[in-house]
Symmetry: D2
Subunit: 434 residues, 4 copies
């Protein structure tokens, strides 16, 4: 009757670099990367993970590490983990793997994380045309609550998720990925539907040997050379799972542990998941939402339509609509004493919800961003009284950590908003004298 | 101390056509359409509305009305309603109008609605390349619950919303709308980012005199001629509000009533809503979610990425990702005894949630569709046991009402799915013999 | 394909007295009261009901009607309704009747209700030793929201329920009821465990001909004479169902309609409900909570233990503990600008939750009352800042309607609280001068 | 910028006995027990705790430890902890101490707990007249989920709480407690309102030197002798806080950690908490419910009224009503393949809710117990189909660990239920042959 503590099948040492771990990590999807651990179906086990930068971003007072990060050396995954049934037969292509996420959290002694936005010319991001500078906010935890010295007045229970989780692709699926992403990369800017904001980023992150880590496959061997040219980058979500971010920028990034249980539903893909694409491999994961999560009853919801900041009408483009919803939220919340960078980072990790609200009435897609009001220590709802209620808003708040932007790409300004902002500041000044 | 029954400020007669109502309706946005009623800020009032087709779709056993509907005679709105403050001064441009939706429901004696999908060559819709036929399902209500004879085994409390609600645009905003939508229409197919599915639909619905109803402005007068050429179609959501659909197809469409209260926040647009576009008019509405809604704790979530059915990789296109999530859900649920048309219509109106899950990791946008499991009378979650549990699934269910598709546009087939479907039917047959 | 509007099986005319209705009402439980309507299992039907006083309490500015109400002429029920299966066989003793409450609401034109507390010597109530006067507050509705001119600053979506609903008892069950309640009444005060607060009320309401209404059984006939002496009063909940109040005083009392569907589970009592008492008739109803209800995420919770106001220790008495929790809540909320009578009536009808928290650790039972913070227009949580925030609290608010108490029974005072209250008022006064 | 890991202010060693810990524990409430740690207001700190038996109950396959437990050596608390403000001034009588429970969980390596019921003659419990034997179930954890080998088919995310938490009573408050509890103990059985079920337990647990542990105060010293005769037992909840159990038996008992933050609201008791009793000390704690908890949407609710198992009518006795609601739930759930002991222990720790539903309509108090249906791996709702669906119910399930009852006190049997139970078993037998 020993307690059912989870068996730790992957352990990491945060004092070591990702490529120095005892159990090797990997940062590519490829079927030939050897498994580093084996678990039984039904077994309860634990996996430790480094943060996605492998420790490159520090708990310090500078955004310089974000600005100068080497993006070829990121996204290190723990595993692969082989799942076998009672008779020792491993899960195979065509089976459905049911993964029960029983728990996840920080590693003891490392209870902190960060949210950042990249420099426009080194990574960029969703709103990089508006926010070209690299920024960083550090988050600490008080039990289930997260707070940041750089974004004061906000505290929330996190909506935790494992970031990237997925199954190894088959060779055939991997080939499909590489072909379609290469085609996008090669057809280039003419395939873009978004406003010009994003074109300085690579359109896709194709296989490359640079920074490639393949677990037990030693760098420089012929096998490594071959696989590193085939293996898919782990950045986007694909048919095999992937990135579980619920928002648009990056969550609170941190190292941590996952506690899991797996079941194998033999031939489950055929039973449950009819492929909807050109090949039988075009299937997508299914999720069930867990029973324990932050409970909020009051939400403020911002809307965007598929008209971009220049006024251009796009056709049912949910990405543009969502971008506008987020910009609207940032602008609104910046009236409550925050810088826009603060709100941008906040919305990247707080338990908000981005929804597609209208996708049929041409030409406007409608997207919304719902923000729980309870995470703020002030009432952020519009009122007939003027906005800044009480003396606290006039106190200068610390801002996020921010680097300079030295690049040459144009960034998006909104002239009208500047007028209002300065007007607003005047008003604040007067109130200070009350 | 008389009871605070709402004052009915707009009444409709469902036996009359939309253009025959005593208080005239309108189906265009234009600042010069005269108001048909006036309310005080703080007053509790009621507005009755026809369904969006103005009674063209019937509670009968044919989808013919959907197939042949004249789409120039739709989207009839009640109002405009003038809102004045205690001193009789009306809300004006720059004010923020806070509209409290206190209640909404069907009109007594007309407790039914419909969900439909249009013929590919007369309206089309989100998945029209997969579902080219006009279809229709009728929904009845048992109190808060909706059920449809055409989609048996499902019953849910509705997530009610008012459809289209908005403020009259200023002349300047109207001009902006018309310019940007005309530009889209004229630049044509080359501006499309979606797969070819939608190009047979008009890219935008520009102002037209055809079917134009302008409230108290009499048809044929010079004023009518002028305004009908300027006035915006009510179909998409825009800066002034618009369509509140939470999903991708059409909700349960019905006539009904709205009970409202309005507050005027003078100059609220400047206070709260910094414009984010090229002009100070580019603002969007903000919502608060109401406190009473269906409560579900268990959801099955389907994911899609921005790779279309042909396997083509799109760049961070949330619309494509969402389309794939919906197709994945349709396919999955069709394994539980439903036709795909049944699931398509069901997902168009049940309390599901479409979310944008990943919008930053190029090249894949990730979208999800979350479906509450409790609306089904069977357990739709994947299990290690085979799918069809019990005898009920082999009973042939009634399907949705469906017209033929006589058009010539190509439609999207998924060859691999047909194989699985027939395989699946064989299996069912065997089980029937148990 | 006619719409599924519910068939109205019981109609009431609010202009008539309860005993003048076309379909007779009844205010007793007895198996021989003839049914006034018949429905099919699975049929969707509607029942109209008078409020529990049958119109004796008015929407006016006096609590006099509450003070002088004749409590022998109350609790008029609509029905009985006979439920038959497809072959016309009625539900019978031993069957389980599943009643689906599909909807309920006010009758059109009568969208108001009241909450009241009785005079200590005419009815009394849960806290009658503290609040001996009859009080009344009128509630109006703005759609789903209730508000009261007598309790300003509060607005909430109601948690609606049907009040009294039940099945007719068998003769044997009725006999059991009458015997056990008569025994209590006769054993009198010596059986009391509560503090003296309640002993002036009848301990039980035994059968009486006074005010007895028996539906189609004409008053004065021999049958009426017999049944009126046997038939149980409808006041408390018993094995057959009964009063669905979720709180301790009386909800917002009103006339209204119910929309229902019934299923008969034959012999279901034996299948599902093993009697737990001395006879096979001692079973109790089971409920499922509906999917649509007000959603609150933030609650303030008050605790009480089984020590009464005099300091006397009771043994695991959850009633005393709950009384103390309610008194604690009343006292706390009275610091935010309300009279205690206002809070008492508010807590009698708002969507709060009374819970039993500890029932095992002798000698203290622990009970709690959880109150959603969102129903108030001010923040009622304790803060390090002093309580009265902002100028609004010093405005004199209207109070509930209140009659005098002319009786002679002692009432409970709490001397210490008066000291604090006057201190508090002084403080308020000072703040007014700010 | 070091991470904000909580400072561990109380550490326990589970290999040692409670009275052998480096930082001494205590099992009494008394103002003179010296604090063992000091924290600052606003500081984030961690406290470790032994389970309430101090390790006397083992993770093994026998209920013997429960049966023979020495109840004088239990309820060991960590602390006292002194809370000081920025100037080093400690919280004092009259201040309001706001304690923010940021997190709680098991101690690493001891992720297990137990639920038990005591022997009727050594502790007893809420339903000890029905369940006289000592029983035990062991719970293990898979991340947030708890499961028990003794209660298969059930798995739930725990609704965690700290058990006993409270402030030190003042001398005056302590005196009040001792007086009122002694009075109860001395007045004896004649003060009982419950049925005879509970009278073999002590009516109150008065101060006693036996098993008394007083932190840093050494046993046998004159100070210890004095205080041990005054200090209150920690068993019931009182004005200073206490037992946070949400149910009627005991939760999943375990060792664990708490992460806390405290704020001092100076003079807050006077500001916020008007005493409602005979002295200004009669106040009770207030709680706010945390934002993260298991989310269930479907509940089955069992009702009880204040008529006991012998058929005796009690007057508005919520304890009796709640007992009947729990008995009804146990009986119902025992039809789904469980023993009654299994259900009793399950309901003692799963996230169910006990509510007071009616407390005003004499003579019946009405209480309910709501159970979330999602914690079971079968559908427990009543259906028109017979109860036992599928083959799984006929498999003999393991039962809870159970000792014999060797006592002589009468226990409550329910003859009618035995008939049904045997009938039911026969039916099960037949089904086994299918």
């Amino acid at each position: 009757m020993a307690p059912a503590s989870p068996r730790v099948v992957v352990k990491v040492d945060l004092k070591k670099k990702p490529w120095q771990q005892n159990q090797p990590l990997h940062n590519r999807w490829h079927p030939e990367i050897p498994s580093v651990a084996e678990v039984m179906a039904g077994e309860f086990f634990r996996v430790e993970m480094v943060d996605w930068t492998g420790g490159a971003v520090k708990d310090d007072d500078s955004a310089g590490d974000i600005k100068s990060i080497d993006l070829s050396t990121v996204h290190y995954l723990s595993g692969p983990i082989k799942v076998v049934d009672e008779e020792g037969v491993a899960a195979k292509t065509g089976d459905l793997l049911a993964v029960d996420i029983c728990n996840l959290g920080p590693l003891p002694g490392n209870e902190w994380g960060f949210t950042g936005s990249f420099d426009r010319e080194n990574g960029g991001g969703f709103l990089t045309d508006h926010f070209p500078c690299a920024t960083k906010a550090i988050w600490y935890f008080e039990g289930i609550y997260a707070y940041s010295p750089q974004i004061p007045g906000v505290r929330f229970p996190g909506l935790t998720h494992p970031g990237i989780i997925g199954t190894a692709p088959s060779k055939e699926l991997l080939r499909i990925w590489n072909e379609r992403e290469r085609h996008l990369e090669e057809s280039g800017l003419k395939s873009l539907s978004l406003c010009e904001v994003v074109h300085q980023r690579p359109l896709a992150n194709l296989p490359t040997s640079k920074g490639c880590l393949l677990g037990n496959i030693e760098e420089g061997t012929p096998e490594w050379e071959r696989i590193s040219k085939e293996a898919a980058r782990t950045i986007p979500g694909r048919e095999n799972g992937g990135d579980g971010e619920i928002s648009f920028c990056g969550a609170i990034e941190m190292s941590g542990f996952l506690e899991l249980k797996c079941e194998i539903i033999r031939n489950g893909m055929q039973e449950y998941l009819t492929p909807m694409g050109p090949t039988p491999l075009h299937v997508n994961p299914i999720f069930e939402i867990g029973p324990v999560e932050p409970r909020f009853s009051e939400w403020l919801v911002f809307e965007g339509i598929s008209v971009d900041e220049s006024g251009k009408q796009h056709y049912l483009d949910a990405t543009v609509a969502y971008k506008r919803a987020v910009l609207n939220a940032i602008d609104y919340l910046s009236k409550f004493g925050y810088s826009k960078e603060q709100v941008y980072l906040l919305l990247s990790c707080c338990p908000c919800e981005g929804r597609i609200s209208g996708i049929v009435d041409a030409p406007n897609a409608v997207a919304t961003l719902a923000i729980p009001t309870a995470i703020f220590d002030q009432d952020i709802r519009p009122k007939t009284r003027k906005v800044p209620a009480g003396p606290r808003i006039v106190k200068k708040k610390p801002d996020v950590l921010k680097s300079t932007y030295d690049g040459k790409l144009p960034i998006t300004k909104n002239p009208t908003s500047f007028f209002h902002l300065s007007f607003y500041k005047e008003k604040l000044h007067l109130e200070t004298n009350n």
